[in-house]
Amino acid sequence: MLKKLFALILIGGLGLIFFQLYNQRSRREGLTKTASYYTEKGPAETRSANIVTSVVVTYRGLDTLGEVTILFAAASIIGFFLKRSEKGSKDKTIRNQSSELLQTGSMLLVPLIFLLGIYVFVNGHLSPGGGFQGGAIIASGTVLAFLANPSFEGGRTLIHILESLSGMFYVGIGVAGIFLAAGFLDNRIFPTGNVGSFISAGAIPVIYSIIGLKVGAELSAILYSLRDTKEQQ
């Protein structure tokens, strides 16, 4: 009880800090200097219709590379951590088969979900959405595949290859920016085209596609690792 009281007092203290934070915030009418630059110059410089995408993939591309890395690190950790502690228990847990309905339905839906995911990330420079969203949709396809068939084994190698290759391509495109354009992750290594058309924004859709594949692969890899964990009674 005392513990809860303390927690309440502490949260009250935090509330005080947050209230001050709220009081101090600047009540802007317009955009900040940085945001104005992105909205004014962004479409012209990157030729990406989606300004958020131009910020995410180009201006702050390093952040995005970083977050891909975090996902990658998380997937790797979960991979080696779960795999290693599962050593010695080779016996495959027998899992119940799912219902016929789910199995059949998934055969139809999984490819469609994958397709939707791909659609979302290749259009990331034009519309809301992008690599992460697309990747997450693809991973949800994997979930469905697992639900339909708990001992589903397909694509395991493909996932690992995609995981590595897409990461390497991402870094490679970034480095290419140093040589072919003005800096790391500069999107102008490809022709930039016109704002709003599908082939536009230089490397942005390429990078976003790579991210989409990578995120999909990482999340699927995590799902694989978790699926392989031995159930405990």
Binding site: Q24, S26, T32, G61, G66, T69, F80, E163, G167, G183
Partner: protein, 1045 residues
């Protein structure tokens, strides 16, 4: 120059590609990882070398082809290059060290290491505050992953706590970042720095959140339980990585962001940092788990650095130097210790004794410990010096005091750990499993620590090259340690001789320095001659002996306080390793080391006050200190008195000296103690006796001297071991010297100098020969000896002369000292002290009589019937000193007149008046030659009479005795020398009971009690740790709310 972006590109590219390289085998992946880390280190290294050679200036590297502040930029300056290089090198070596575990866990784990290192580099290089957040998250998640390289529960729960804690911390950071963006409109750190005005107006709380989050990453007390558990739970290679690489990066970003918050942030940093330093080290006292100790120590060191950053306004342009030296030492030493802990495997401190089975690693263990505590020649020595000087110069006394206190705490547990590992017997332990992967990083970092020390010292103008040259010689000796002892002895003799040749022009004409150089270096020669008696290799002895002697040489040669302190600390290290060589020296060696550490910290504070009031570190700074002079002089005196073993600070001596073997005992007692005298003379010379505070200090000092003389002599009278007897006797003799000096009169100082020289001579003889006797007989217990005069006539004669001198009996030179002291007592009317001195003089007769009587006279023991005379190599130096005693006795003016001339400028009053060999004071005259003639004649007459009177005496066989009806229950009771002064013990024994020992014991228990309160904080419960974090944020906010705009 190579674009630093490639550090990121190489790290990530390799991490991603490892998945494809799976087919080529794990070893291949491992080497690819190491190679990639090496390439990353190369990039920052080549920037660093360009900066160091002043070829380039700081640059900003933009990404995405845009311009700052709208795109993420990397900053590359000298500090960035250095920190990034350190971080990556730490990863290279930790990765190398983790070979087996990485192979076991596979390429994914290697990828995590690469990603983590890349993240740390990003933290250092990035110029964007949100990007910083991203890189911090990368390194956090990678750290959690690396912890899982071992799969025990400890690692598991440590990693979980860490993830939770860093989750909440980074949430606060994110909140701060977005509100800061809201108020300033930028995320670029350089631009944020230029918007101090805006931040002041509307970004105060946001900045507070950022600062406190970055501070929490550095694990401030008490919100750091998760941090300690992380260090403890992680595999040692990973802990090394966290302590060196991660901590370095986290500290750098804290430095980078700290100025945003203005003065209030600095104050928070100072308070949180220094209290973390003090309390982590206090907490560590009650633990025995090495990883946990190292964790506390790491957290403490980082706290110190945070505190220094907070105090940067006071330290001025020295701040960076202090930070880099302390951080660099911590980085190298802590990584090394964590690596070693992986080699030892068993987490208990005492189990480190098994490390002795690989002496090279053990040597590095010592190097790391001494480096952490700021001993020379390591970089932290200079950092600690500048830190305390700087703080005291700006009147930050409490901060400086707290830092010294924290260092003392750290010293207690690190030295306890080290000396137990050094001395506990280790026959039953396994030899540590050493592979090339585990040993190479340790050796490399260990050597680099020396290089870093050298490199730092080239930036310290106050330290001359001649203070470094001896270290090279010692290094050489260390490398030649495989040679037989006599060869190393010859090399050492050559080294001492060379140093004397170098030193002579510097001290020529300075009687004060000549006296002490004579004792220190002349003593070194004598000790080394005695050293020829040794057989075998005697590993480790010579480097440490030379370290002590050359440290003493530097002490005499010192032209400023820094050099003085430098020499003093070197001498302390060397002497510790000599004293601890005795069989049962463990507790005594440790207490010697702790007293020495405490003494040198006190001294450091005193020096800092001297420096603060004069503005220079020259020796003349000791004259007439203006700032808190009473404290300054007292601290310095206390510091030096730890070495003279004055009352209260003496408890380490009897054990430490009593357990030492002959020549080491000689070095420790006859020579080493004089270093303290040297220091006291310097301090008193600077203080003078005119100021009121000086008179008070001198009054206390005089009493300390007198009582030390009494206690020392009483203690000596009750010893059974001849060595302990001599050790106690040294305490007493040093008491006379302190008493003489405290009088601040011509005669008192003359007596003190006289005692200093003669004590060296007669104690030298006694230590060498009694030690030699004990070696031959196999014990130092006097009741097991007796009648040895027949087996060892040469020793007997020398010892006889020595104790006559010691007792101050005419006609030998010891009488001079006594005569001078009594004259001084009369002239100063110090009657109470005088009584004490006289009583202790009488007691000295008692134990000296016993010494010669019980050992050499009486009945020869059966088992000693075949013992040989003491080694000739011990007799040679003893007889050399004997010659000196005779010379000084015949021509006392040779010494006294010259000393008198030296003292006259400082103490013109009351000088002796010399007329030929006759000296006169106010109270009488004294001519040792006449006395000698008279006594000689009397002695001859009595002797002849005895020969004549006993001409009919009958010789009795040794066993023609009986026990007078008493039935002795134990064999030693049959020896009259056992418990020789039992009746006196009944009467005055209470004075010898170690009241002082009890005081120090209780202090130590109190500290440990305080420390174990800490367990209430460090419960191991993840949820409590979250409480602490949130509470820390709230409480610090409330405490500083007035300052946060």
């Amino acid at each position: 120059m190579i674009n630093p972006i490639y550090i990121v590109a190489i790290g990530l590219g390799t991490a991603f590609s490892l998945g494809l390289l799976r087919k080529l085998g794990k070893e291949f992946s491992f080497w690819v990882t190491i190679f990639a880390l090496g390439a990353m280190a190369f990039i920052s290294g080549h920037w660093l070398s360009a900066f160091l050679s002043h070829q380039i200036t700081s640059t900003v590297i933009t990404t995405a082809g845009g311009k700052a502040p709208f795109v993420i930029v990397f900053n590359m300056g000298m500090t960035e290059a250095l920190f990034s290089f350190m971080v990556t090198m730490g990863a290279v070596f930790s990765g190398f060290y983790l070979h087996d575990r990485l192979i076991e866990s596979g390429p994914s784990a290697m990828a995590v290491l690469l990603a983590g290192t890349m993240g740390l580099n990003g933290i250092i290089l990035t110029g964007d505050i949100f990007n910083l957040f991203v890189f911090m998250e990368i390194s956090a998640i990678a750290t959690a992953g690396l912890v899982l390289l071992v799969s025990d529960f400890k690692a598991l729960q440590a990693g979980f706590k860490f993830m939770l804690a860093s989750g909440i911390i980074s949430g606060l950071l994110l909140l701060g970042i977005i509100f800061l963006y809201n108020s300033t409109g930028t995320l670029n750190i350089s631009e944020l720095h230029s918007k101090a005005g805006v931040i002041l107006k509307s970004g105060g709380v946001a900045t507070y959140l950022i600062t406190i989050a970055l501070l929490l990453e550095l694990k401030p007390f008490p919100a750091n339980g998760w941090g300690v558990d992380l260090y403890e739970g992680a595999p040692s290679g990973v802990s090394a990585f966290i302590a060196s690489s991660s901590a370095t990066a986290a500290f750098f970003v804290f430095l980078k962001v700290l100025p945003l918050g203005g003065d209030i942030s600095l104050r928070i940093a100072a308070a949180a940092g220094i209290s973390t330093f003090v309390f982590s080290n206090l907490m560590a006292l009650s633990y025995k788990n090495t990883s946990r100790l190292l964790g506390y120590s790491s957290i403490g060191q980082l706290g110190l650095l945070v505190g220094i950053a907070g105090l940067s306004k006071h330290l001025g342009d020295k701040t960076l130097m202090i930070i880099l030296t302390l951080l660099g030492t911590h980085y190298l030493a802590k990584a090394g210790l964590f690596w070693l802990s992986g080699i030892v495997k068993n987490p208990n401190t005492d189990e480190w004794r098994s490390l002795r089975k690989s002496p090279v690693l053990f040597a590095f263990f010592g190097v790391f410990i001494f480096a952490l505590l700021g001993f020379p020649p390591f970089p932290s020595f200079f950092g600690k010096w500048e830190l305390i000087m700087g703080l005291v110069a700006t009147k930050m006394y409490w901060w400086a005091g707290a830092i010294l206190l924290g260092t003392m705490f750290e010293g207690i547990y690190l030295f306890r750990w080290f000396s137990r590992a050094l001395k506990l017997q280790n026959n039953d332990t396994a030899t540590p499993a050493v592979t090339i992967y585990s040993i190479l990083p340790v050796v490399f970092f260990g050597f680099f620590l020396f290089y870093a020390g050298y490199y730092t010292s080239t930036f310290v103008p106050a330290l001359r090259v001649m203070c470094l040259a001896p270290l090279l010689f010692i290094l050489l000796l260390g490398l030649l340690d495989f040679l037989p002892a006599f060869l190393k002895n010859i090399i050492s003799l050559a080294g001492v001789t060379a140093y004397i040749v170098y030193l002579w022009p510097h001290i020529q004409g300075n009687t004060f320095k000549i006296v002490f150089a004579g004792i220190f270096l002349g003593g070194a020669i004598l000790a080394l001659i005695a050293g020829f008696y040794r057989r075998g290799k005697h590993m480790g002895f010579y480097p440490m002996t030379m370290l002590m002697f050359l440290g003493l040489g530097i002490l005499v040669d010192a032209s400023n306080l820094l050099e003085l302190f430098y020499g003093w600390e070197l001498m302390t290290i060397g002497s510790y390793f000599l004293l601890i060589r005795g069989e049962r020296s463990l507790p005594h060696g440790l207490s010697y080391l702790l007293f020495s550490l405490g003494g040198s910290l006190a001294m450091l504070f005193g020096f800092a006050l001297a420096h603060a009031s004069s503005g220079s570190v020259d020796l003349s700074a000791l004259n007439h200190i203006r700032i808190m002079p009473a404290l300054a002089y007292s601290l310095m005196l206390a510091g030096f008195m730890t070495k003279t073993a004055s009352l209260g600070l003496h408890i380490w001596l009897p054990g430490a000296h009593g357990e030492a073997v002959a020549d080491i005992h000689f070095m420790a007692s006859a020579i080493l103690l004089k270093a303290g005298v040297f220091g006291i003379i310097l301090v008193l010379g600077g203080m003078g006796n005119t100021q009121p505070y000086a008179q008070k200090i001198l009054f206390v000092l005089g009493w300390i001297g007198a009582l030390t003389a009494l206690i020392g002599n009483i203690g000596a009278a009750f010893q059974e071991s001849a060595k302990y007897l001599l050790a106690w006797s040294s305490i007493g003799q040093l008491g006379y010297i302190v008493f003489g000096l405290a009088s601040m009169t011509h005669l008192g100082w003359l007596a003190a100098y006289g005692y200093t020289i003669t004590h060296f001579l007669y104690k030298g003889i006694l230590f060498l020969l009694i030690g030699g006797v004990a070696f031959r007989v196999g014990t130092a217990d006097m009741y097991k000896m007796g009648g040895l005069i027949k087996r060892m006539p040469f020793s007997f004669f020398a010892v006889l002369i020595a104790i006559i001198t010691l007792a101050g009996i005419p006609p030998l030179v010891g009488f001079t000292g006594k005569w001078l002291v009594y004259n001084m007592i009369l002239s100063k009317h110090l009657f109470y002290q005088g009584v004490v001195i006289i009583i202790s003089g009488v007691i000295a007769f008692l134990y000296l009589f016993r010494l010669i009587h019980v050992i050499f006279l009486g009945q020869l023991k059966d088992r000693n019937r075949k013992v040989k005379e003491v080694y000739v190599w011990l007799l040679i130096p003893a007889y050399l000193m004997l010659t000196a005693i005779f010379a000084l006795s015949m021509f006392p003016d040779m010494m006294l007149a010259r000393l008198g001339r030296m003292l006259t400028p400082s103490f013109p009053e009351g000088a002796l008046v010399w007329d030929g060999f006759t000296a006169s004071s106010r109270y009488g005259t004294f001519n040792l030659q006449i006395i000698m003639a008279v006594i000689g004649a009397t002695f001859a007459a009595v002797f002849l009479w005895l020969v004549f009177a006993n001409r009919k005496a009958q010789k009795v066989k040794q066993f023609n005795i009986f026990y007078s009806g008493e039935a002795p229950s134990r064999p030693e009771l049959t020896h009259y020398g056992y418990n020789f002064f039992a009746h006196y013990r009944k009467a005055v024994g209470f004075m010898a009971t170690p009241l002082v020992t009890r005081f120090w014991d209780q202090l130590s228990q109190g500290l440990h009690g305080l420390s174990s309160y800490g367990r209430a904080i460090y419960t191991g419960n993840a949820q409590s740790y979250l409480y602490h974090i949130v509470a820390f944020v709230v409480v610090v906010y409330l405490l500083s709310a007035g300052g946060i705009s």
